[in-house]
């Protein structure tokens, strides 16, 4: 398969709340939570930010980084579980705001935290079959965690956009192949009209995350005959800091391969943006010829694995837009009261 990444762009809101500030409100032990989750703080959207604004900023960053003519984009797919409208696409807003309309296709994707990588796969198919010149795949979320729920400590905001193409001279990374592993698991859900998701505790770990990440990762390595030591970097979905490190060890990857893309401790879980943010952080520092192994996970559930090789062109475009590290710098910290206001947790009669 000769398709790959032409450009990428990330966006993270400036606001943060520390885990200790959330724990203080709910009477939890912050030290135990930080040690268990390996997350110290998470991003919070501004009052006028949502999944659409985050997706637009990430998409514009991707276009700016490679100086691409947006009219070449023939497909815009936005993966999220917090689309601002129940019915009315985020992707048409994004497409209009980046100037890709009208000769193009668009749709919104949802499969919990892997909706963005599902969008990458759809774009790979469209580009690979010459149906479109470039495809734009976005994973963005302003994820929800109910007050006092375990998810509240990590549910964060952010987004990442990938431009998928096939012109060899434009590729900053070749996606050698992708492999998915999917089953129906009741680990996490949000019913229509409900503000916050529910989760079925024991399904989250082994039957959900680990089974599907391992299924996709092992399946891909078997299919293309590679092994963990063939890769310079490894990125796994980051709902917390512990899961990606544990699954990496199970699969035979070491900590050094995972750490460059492990941004969850200062960012939280950006859901549809999570694994894609890890890939972006890795591309920010990878050298030409480096190989990246990535596996996204989405509850419900599925894993999407990718084998990626970085090309010489990465050096040409890398500094064309802010890196993930740039976006993590200079946060504005807020207390729980301001966080509750920003997240709409204070309901007015």
């Amino acid at each position: 398969m000769s398709v790959g990444i032409v450009s990428y762009g990330a966006y993270i809101p400036r606001y943060r709340i520390k885990v200790e500030n959330i724990a203080r409100v709910w009477g939890d032990n912050a030290d135990i939570l930080i040690a268990g989750l390996m997350v110290t703080e998470k991003s919070v959207p501004d009052l006028d930010e949502d999944t659409a604004t985050i997706a637009v900023e990430a998409a514009r960053s991707a276009i700016m980084r490679s100086d691409i003519d947006a009219q070449r984009i023939g497909a815009v797919y936005t993966g999220s579980e917090s689309h601002p409208y129940a019915v009315k696409p985020t992707s048409t807003i994004v497409a209009e705001a980046i100037g890709s309309t009208p000769v193009m296709t668009a749709a919104d994707f949802e499969l919990a935290c892997k909706a963005g990588t599902a969008a990458i796969q759809a774009c790979m198919g469209l580009v690979g079959s010459d149906m479109v010149d470039l495809g734009l795949a976005i994973g963005a979320d302003v994820s929800q965690g109910a007050p006092g729920d375990a998810l509240e400590y990590t549910a964060a905001a952010g987004g990442v956009a990938y431009l998928i193409g096939k012109k060899k001279s434009e590729l900053v990374a070749v996606i050698e192949n992708t492999y998915s592993f999917t089953t129906d698991i009741p680990d996490f859900w949000r019913r229509e009209g409900m503000s916050y998701p529910e989760h079925a505790g024991r399904f989250t770990g082994e039957p959900g995350y680990f089974k599907h990440v391992k299924g996709a990762a092992n399946g891909l390595m078997e299919m293309i005959d590679t092994k963990p030591s063939d890769y310079d970097y490894a990125v796994f979905h980051q709902p917390n800091g512990k899961f990606p490190l544990r699954v990496a060890k199970m699969l035979g990857f070491n900590k050094e391969q995972v750490k460059p893309g492990l941004v969850v401790s200062r960012l939280g879980n950006t859901y549809s943006g999570s694994c894609m943010m890890g890939i972006a952080a890795t591309l920010d520092q990878a050298e030409p010829g480096d190989r990246i192994f990535a596996t996204a996970f989405g509850s419900g559930a599925g894993g999407d694995a990718f084998s990626i090789t970085v090309t010489d062109r990465i050096e040409d475009i890398r500094n064309g837009a802010p890196t993930v590290e740039d976006l993590l710098k200079n946060p504005i910290y807020m207390d729980y009261a301001m966080y509750a206001k920003h997240k709409g947790k204070i309901k007015l009669i």
Binding site: D48, A52, T53, I93, A97
Partner: protein, 134 residues
Amino acid sequence: MIFVSVARFWRKQVHRYNLIGTYCKECGEYYYPPRNMCPTCRRDGKLESYKFSGNGEIVTYTIIHTAAEGFEHQTPYVLAIVKLDEGPRLTSQIVVEPGEIKIGMRVKPVFRKLGESGNRGMIYYGTKFIPEYE
């Protein structure tokens, strides 16, 4: 709640999303929002669509403490006149801590929610500005 008709907002949404105005090839003047006729050249004007970079500077500002309906919970926030590098001036909310805003500050555009018609109506998106150093 903001009361804007869906059709009225939609007519101008592309201009709000991407700062698209007009440029008169006859006199070299830029306009935002877009004009149908050049006020200087009148019938001799040759207007064409122009996408502004969005870079500019703060001409003047005010800090809103008593806001209009729909913005009460955003106070205090900054409203400013921004002079785009090409010349036109426009009024916009500036996403900045009120203590940081200064006349002459360089700004760049960001895509944000401008407002919404309650919980059931449309969400209106468009351009605001942030300091260039961010």
